[in-house]
């Protein structure tokens, strides 16, 4: 059994009855919507036109929100309904990133994720969802898509239908009949200054120049707000764990190469790593809308979710830092070369797991790049080496040490720049990724990107290279400082731009 909706835009009159019936059924707070009606105006007078589209959760067969949800609060029922249990939600917002349809929001009353759940409480009682009941023109059909004799199956068998963002491969179970492409594909109809009887939210307004559709007259004239779920905390978390992982990696590398870092390798690196892991964890918990429930990550963790696996990675990394520190304090430095390999792996995992987490964020195509894993590792090495460079130079740890951090820093920074060039400047798998990348390279974020992220990194490379053999410690120190805000700036535009691409 697989419940789904068919929405007949040929008869939909854009009246918003579904929206309001849904809101009264579920007592949805102001400004939030489980279903809503989008308008697109296009054409030139007197051949103007308006199209409607009823937007909502697609109850995907392969629902990315269920995969990413760390606590199983989102789940697929036997009947195909993608349901949620607010009492199990920690408010991590990863589902908002995973959903390619803008269908999920954090309820302002409960501070937990919510979305259309097919009125599962009604379905269990043998009743149609509220939106289906209210629709004046019976434009919303509901039924079992696996039952060929059901009304919805018959309707879909005898009429052409489309789904939203089929390229996402999620298997949407909301089918549209007679929907205009400009309604279903948000990149076909940017917002232009205003809606016809509401004001676009600032976030959506900001995207108005990010892209143009194939019909330049098409404009979205009514829609709802979908603010970026992740902000500075997640941006900062990318940096903190990178610095920590990179620092411990440099210490481990030094141990393997037998480069004496002294206290910097034995104490500073692991302390920095552990502190970074702790701050990272703190940021993650702080970013939860229900932080007091963070323990659910462990008590009912979904082991397919990289939010959970990442948590374990950070714990493992923290443990590695502690062992490294402990062995040093206990005078067992000799163990470090043997510890180096697991430490390097755990550091890489801590720095790199976000590639898998972001990979599960199916709604953010920019993040779906295969380059993300090596990129995160290079970034971690760069910022970690940068932090170590400061420590090495301040502590006067010697030319070998300076040379090592300078080489790691320079190499990692060049890799970071190269991957950036390939990742953002190269071919993109989807239009959404392309739009996000062009917003960074040529659009709203170009100043921050070129001046705040790229230029200082190039400068850092130029400063680090003269220190390649351990000379000019001040230069590598400067480089080590420079790369930190440069990467924060990079992550800011990278995290924002991906979330700026409209999905609805």
């Amino acid at each position: 059994m697989r419940y789904g909706f068919a929405i007949d835009q040929r008869t939909c009159i854009g009246c918003h009855a579904c929206t309001v019936a849904c809101k009264t059924e579920h007592e949805v707070p102001l400004g939030q919507f489980r279903t809503w009606v989008k308008y697109v105006d296009s054409g030139t007078f007197p051949d103007s036109r308006r199209d409607f589209g009823v937007m909502r959760c697609n109850h995907c067969t392969d629902a990315p929100c269920v995969t990413i949800c760390p606590t199983g609060a989102l789940f697929t029922r036997e009947d195909g309904i993608v349901d949620f249990d607010g009492s199990a939600c920690i408010g991590c917002k990863s589902c908002l990133q995973a959903c390619p349809y803008d269908a999920i929001y954090i309820d302002d009353d409960t501070h937990t994720a919510a979305k259309c759940n097919f009125c599962a409480h009604r379905v269990d009682d043998g009743l149609e969802p509220a939106c289906v009941v209210v629709c004046p023109t019976h434009s919303i059909w509901v039924g079992d898509l696996e039952d060929e004799s059901s009304g919805i199956s018959q309707l879909l068998a005898t009429n052409e239908s489309t789904v939203r963002a089929p390229d996402q491969g999620t298997g949407p179970n909301v089918f549209y009949l007679g929907a205009a492409r400009a309604v279903l594909d948000p990149l076909e109809a940017p917002v232009k200054d205003t809606y016809l009887w509401a004001r676009p939210d600032e976030h959506r307004l900001a995207t108005s120049a990010d892209f143009t559709g194939s019909d330049p007259t098409a404009a979205t004239t009514l829609n709802t707000a979908h603010p970026r779920p992740w902000g500075w905390r997640v941006i900062t978390y990318l940096w903190t764990k990178g610095v920590g992982a990179g620092a411990l990696f440099v210490a481990a590398l030094a141990a393997v190469l037998d480069v004496g870092l002294g206290g910097v390798g034995d104490v500073v690196a692991p302390v920095l790593a552990a502190a970074a892991a702790a701050v990272t964890g703190g940021l993650l918990v702080w970013d939860l809308k229900r932080p007091e429930r963070f323990y659910l990550l462990f008590t009912r963790g979904n082991h397919r979710s990289w939010l959970v696996l990442g948590g374990y990675a950070l714990l493992g990394f923290g443990a590695a830092a502690t062992v490294w520190f402990g062995t040093a304090v206990l005078g067992a430095d000799a163990a470090h070369p043997w510890l180096a390999l697991p430490v390097v792996l755990l550091s890489a995992l801590a720095a790199g797991y976000t590639a898998f987490l972001f990979g599960q964020a199916e709604g953010r195509d920019l993040w779906q790049s295969p380059w993300l894993l090596p990129h995160l590792l290079a970034q971690a090495a760069m910022t970690g080496a940068g932090a170590m460079a400061v420590a090495v130079v301040v502590a006067g740890a010697g030319d070998d040490a300076t040379a090592l951090v300078a080489r790691v820093l320079a190499t990692a920074a060049v890799l970071h720049l190269a991957i950036t060039a390939v990742d953002l400047g190269g071919r993109h798998e989807s239009r959404r990724a392309e739009v996000a990348a062009s917003t960074i390279l040529r659009g709203r974020y170009r100043a921050a990107f070129w001046w705040g992220a790229v230029t200082p990194t190039v400068a850092a490379v130029l400063l680090a290279v003269p220190a390649w053999n351990g000379d000019h410690g001040w230069a590598v120190l400067a480089a080590g400082i420079l790369v930190q805000p440069a990467l924060l700036t990079y992550e800011t535009v990278y995290v924002r731009a991906a979330q700026d691409v409209p999905l609805s």
Binding site: T11, I13, G14, C15, H16, A17, T19, V20, A21, K23, T24, E25, H26, P29, L30, G31, D41, G43, T44, F45, P46, S48, R49, R50, F52, D83, S87, D108, D109, A120, H121, R122, V123, D124, D125, G126, L127, E128, A130, V132, V133, V134, P136, T137, H138, V142, G143, S150, G151, I152, K192, D193, T194, Y195, L196, W197, A198, R199, T217, A219
Partner: protein, 955 residues
């Protein structure tokens, strides 16, 4: 349970008897849209917020009727048995009109019920009227004061000094009852700012003042209004229009100056210059005549063509062929080219329209309501010309065609209906407007300022003339004068701009808190709906009998019918005025009737088929209506003009020379709501004696002697009257444009929906629609402040330049521009706080000092308000522009559009009321006052609420 609440009759319980198929019942396999009615008294639902945890709660599902727009769609309220709270309202599947479905405003009723800013207690003014001082008073205080004033007026024979001014009534019969009982000529509807134009167009054809298209079976649907998004009758009509389009392949043609949601579904969209619609329609008529695609048999039988020939072509032979030839010639001048010139619509589009209409045959559903008929000088002729197409194609009253509303509407009167009074209120029915469809309500301030009369007691009932009517400052000036309006009583659920200028503000219930009956022509059948206070009904069913709706409503909120009964009783406590008897129980002689008894009597005695339907379910008629909230009266009703008269009807009737069958009458006779006293039908040429129409000739009047006899022979047949905003009168180069200020959104309804948060959050800006080319010419871009100047002042709006409106026209939606003077006696969800000042010369200025913003209340959502745009109160800047024929306010404005000037702020309004007086006099001068040659104040057959005796018609 008391006997009064036990609606079962006969053996067994109602559960054992079959329940009827509900017109709105549907299922998608295992899922049904509503629980079956037999479970409505003990419906168990699971808490949506607790899901997936199963938290069951038991409800009673009590039907009632939406009180937002006129459609009167059925609602089903969920009343929780544990605390008697209303948790939500859905549609009512038993309702034949709405069939269980609703627009956004239906479910949003729950917002209105739970509005934390509702008025919960009667309030009495303290200090100057309009100064904002209020104190709580008791209902007894208010009733005694109001009753004694009305009693004084009645006893002094001042029967034109008590006026009841009603917004959209949403009920039939009760207001007429108490006004007739009081014997005052005081019914004052809002209609002349609304639908009066269209009504005159339809009235002059057949007497009935509204069309009732059978959309569901139409082949062609011709819409001059946006029926897929607004009232009359939005949801019921939209259902059927889209059904016809998707299932019956009907073609939809829409005439609208802007890209409406309705136009978005049109097979053909024409955006004519405002006011040119009649020219287009007449060119279509001309095409039908020229190409012979007319229904000759229908015309011959039902149109007063002999009169037409006699008046227009007295020299021609009186035969039908001569008539068709003459008619074809008379309309030949309305060519497509002429229509194209007037409307600025390409000839091809008009020709396409004509071809589509010609193909419709008898299945042409055509409709105009407000829109062009409410916008333009002579707008009534747009409706008359539109119905002309129905007449020519023989699509009148047919399956898929257009019937008159009277065939699909049923008014259920109470017991012992008071007879007509003999008063005539010149303030409402002035001599200048003998053909006005309804009361000249919006001229009241000017008439009072003219010294034409005074009012002792003035009720505004869920009506907000200060905001809704044109020339609102004239209303404020008049309402603040206690010498011309002795007492202003505002009956309203919520604060409004008008309530701020009342002496008493008396809280009345929303849709789930009142009793009414009503019936509207939603389709080719009739139904009677029953609005009821759902908690009261639930409490009754649970065994705690409620005898006063205040006991079940929030605070001391009442319902009007109980209020009117009580007020009437106090006006005539001893029965000496002859009023009390109409409010005595038919079941308990001499005692005050209860609202339960009133409707019980109505349902037992006035509703055909109801007692039988009820009995079939083992219910009393009252029990049936309490359970279902509606009863179907008839279905598949067509061609009622051909209904043979019964012997009873014919008894004593004699045909006059035109075949009209008449009973003897005197000057004491009271004509029916529509039609002439004594007229029962018509005897046609073939001898058949049938009901016919309600015009003096009982036929469809292509030529209206009534129009001619009141001085307008040139407009007696369908014709094109050039609008006050026609293309020729607008100087585009000087920045003039036509402002269309009336278009409505599917999500809001006048000022009634201001406290529905779920509607406000969808629709909360108020841009001035302007074509990109116009914007370019005027130096404007989207978001710019625009100063729009009318004859009497200006307002400042914000532009939206786009391609969805015809060049030359700007448009600003209805509903927005709500304001308040303070934060306590106000609804803040969607209003801005204003500074209001008047100079000594009479120039008013209004400026927002605060836009909508979050506020603290019991509802956490009020702190989440994220919209900031209160809109622009454009109506304040409109002078009164009464159409000399229909009396309708002509809403379209000839305006100058320009970038805002330094110092202008969004929402600013400035008006010079001296200029407003000037414009009033100019339009008044366009009239040709009655009486007519026979000394009549107005044609007797025309609809007139609370119709007086025939003698009152004599001037």
């Amino acid at each position: 349970m008391t006997a009064a609440e036990d609606h079962r009759v006969g053996p067994g319980s109602s559960e054992e008897l079959p329940t009827p198929d509900l017109p709105g019942a549907r299922s998608h396999e295992a899922l049904r849209n509503f629980p079956p009615p037999e479970t409505w008294d003990h419906h168990v639902a699971h808490d949506a917020r607790a899901h997936p945890r199963k938290v069951p709660r038991e409800f009673m599902l009590i039907p009632t009727t939406c009180f937002n727009c006129e459609s009167a769609c059925g609602l089903l309220a969920h009343v929780a048995k544990d605390d008697l709270s209303i948790t939500k309202v859905e549609g009512n599947p038993a309702h034949p009109g709405s069939r269980g479905r609703n627009c956004a405003k239906g479910p949003a009723t729950i917002n209105q019920v739970n509005d934390p800013e509702r008025i919960l207690h009667p309030l009495r003014r303290v200090g100057e009227r309009g100064a904002g001082g209020w104190e709580r008073c008791t209902w007894d205080d208010a009733l005694d004061d109001v009753a004694s004033r009305i009693r004084t007026s009645i006893m002094a024979e001042r029967r034109d000094r008590v006026v009841y001014h009603v917004g959209r009534p949403g009920e039939d019969g009760f207001a007429e009852r108490f006004l007739l009982a009081w014997g005052v000529d005081g019914h004052n509807s809002h209609t002349n700012i609304c639908s009066a134009g269209a009504r005159l167009g339809y009235t002059t054809w057949g007497g009935y003042d509204r069309p009732a298209p059978d959309y569901a079976n139409a082949k062609v649907i011709l819409l001059l209004s946006s029926h897929l998004e607004t009232g009359h009758y939005f949801n019921p009509h939209a259902q059927r229009i889209m059904e016809a389009k998707s299932e019956g392949n009907a073609k939809v043609v829409v005439l609208d100056v802007r890209m409406s949601n309705t136009a978005s579904h049109a097979d053909l969209w024409l955006a004519p210059w405002p006011g040119s619609e009649a020219a287009i329609l007449l060119s279509v008529a001309s095409h039908l005549l020229r190409t012979g695609r007319i229904d000759r048999d229908y015309l011959r039988r039902w149109v007063n063509w002999r009169t037409y020939l006699e008046r227009m072509h007295p020299d021609r032979p009186r035969d039908f062929d001569a008539f068709v030839a003459a008619l074809t010639e008379d309309y030949a001048r309305y060519t497509f080219e002429f229509a194209a010139e007037e409307s600025q619509v390409p000839v091809e589009r008009i020709r396409a329209l004509a071809e589509i209409v010609a193909e419709a045959g008898p299945a042409l559903s055509a409709h105009i309501w407000r829109s062009a008929a409410a916008g333009n000088l002579g707008g009534w002729q747009v409706a008359r010309c539109l119905f002309f197409l129905n007449v020519l194609t023989g699509s009148v009253g047919t399956k898929g065609g257009t019937s008159p509303n009277g065939w699909h509407k049923f008014i259920a009167h109470g017991f012992d209906v008071p007879e007509g009074h003999d008063a005539w209120n010149e303030l409402l029915w002035p001599g200048e407007y003998p053909l006005s469809t309804n009361e000249m309500s919006f001229l009241l301030p000017h008439f009072l300022q003219d010294g034409r009369g005074e009012l002792d007691v003035y009720f505004t009932r869920v009506y907000n003339p200060v905001w809704t009517n044109p020339d609102g400052f004239a209303w404020i000036e008049t309402l603040t004068r206690t010498d011309t309006i002795g007492l202003h009583v505002a009956l309203t659920p919520t604060w409004s701009e008008t309530a701020a200028f009342a002496d008493y503000v008396l809280p009345m219930g929303h849709a789930t808190e009142r009793h009414d009956t009503h019936s509207y022509e939603t389709h080719a059948g009739a139904w009677l709906g029953f609005r009821q206070p759902v908690r009261r009904v639930a409490m009754g069913k649970l065994g705690s009998a409620v005898t006063d709706t205040r006991e079940s409503n929030p605070g001391e909120v009442w319902e009007e019918n109980e209020f009117w009964i009580e007020l009437s009783w106090r006006i005539d406590p001893d029965g000496s005025l002859g009023i009390r008897r109409y409010f005595e129980s038919p079941y308990r002689p001499g005692e005050k009737v209860t609202v339960d008894e009133y409707y019980r009597w109505v349902f037992e005695n006035r509703v055909p088929g109801l007692p039988e339907k009820a009995a079939a379910e083992g219910l009393t008629p009252m029990g049936y209506m309490r359970k279902y909230g509606v009863v179907e009266i008839s279905r598949d009703v067509y061609r009622r003009d051909e209904r043979p008269l019964t012997d009873d009807e014919l008894s004593g009737a004699e045909p006059d020379p035109d075949g009209v069958l008449r009973l003897p009458t005197t000057d004491e006779s009271t004509p029916p709501l529509i039609g002439e006293a004594g007229a029962v039908g018509v005897q046609l040429e073939d001898g058949s004696r049938v009901a016919g129409w309600l015009t003096p000739s009982r036929r469809l009047e292509l030529w209206s002697d009534s129009v001619a006899s009141f001085g307008w022979p040139e407009h007696a047949a369908p014709t094109y009257i050039e609008s006050h905003v026609s293309r020729r009168r607008v100087d585009l180069a000087a920045g003039q444009r036509v402002l269309v200020p009336t278009f409505r959104l599917p999500t809001l309804i006048h000022t009634r929906s201001g406290n529905a948060k779920y509607l406000n959050e969808i629709s909360n800006t108020h841009p001035l629609w302007i074509h990109e080319d116009d914007a370019g010419q005027l130096g404007l871009a989207t978001g710019d402040l625009v100063r729009v100047t009318t004859r009497i002042g200006h307002f400042v709006a914000r532009a939206w330049a786009h391609q969805g409106i015809r060049p030359g026209v700007v448009a600003l939606s209805h509903h927005m521009g709500r304001w308040r003077l303070d934060d306590i006696h106000a609804s803040r969800w969607a209003s801005g706080k204003v500074d209001l000042e008047r100079s000594e010369e009479g120039v008013w200025r209004m400026r927002y000092v605060e836009h909508p913003r979050p506020f603290a209340s019991d509802d956490p959502d009020s702190s989440r308000i994220y919209w900031e745009d209160p809109g622009v109160h454009q109506n304040l800047t409109f002078p009164v522009q009464p159409d000399p024929w229909s009396g309708a306010h002509c809403w379209h404005q000839l305006v100058t559009v320009a970038p805002a000037e330094p110092g202008d702020r969004y929402g600013d309004v400035q008006v010079d009321t001296r200029l407003a007086r000037e414009v009033y006099r100019e339009w008044l001068a366009m009239t040709r006052p009655g009486p007519n040659g026979e000394g009549l104040r107005r044609p007797e057959f025309m609809m007139r609420p609370v119709k007086p005796k025939r003698k009152a018609f004599r001037a």
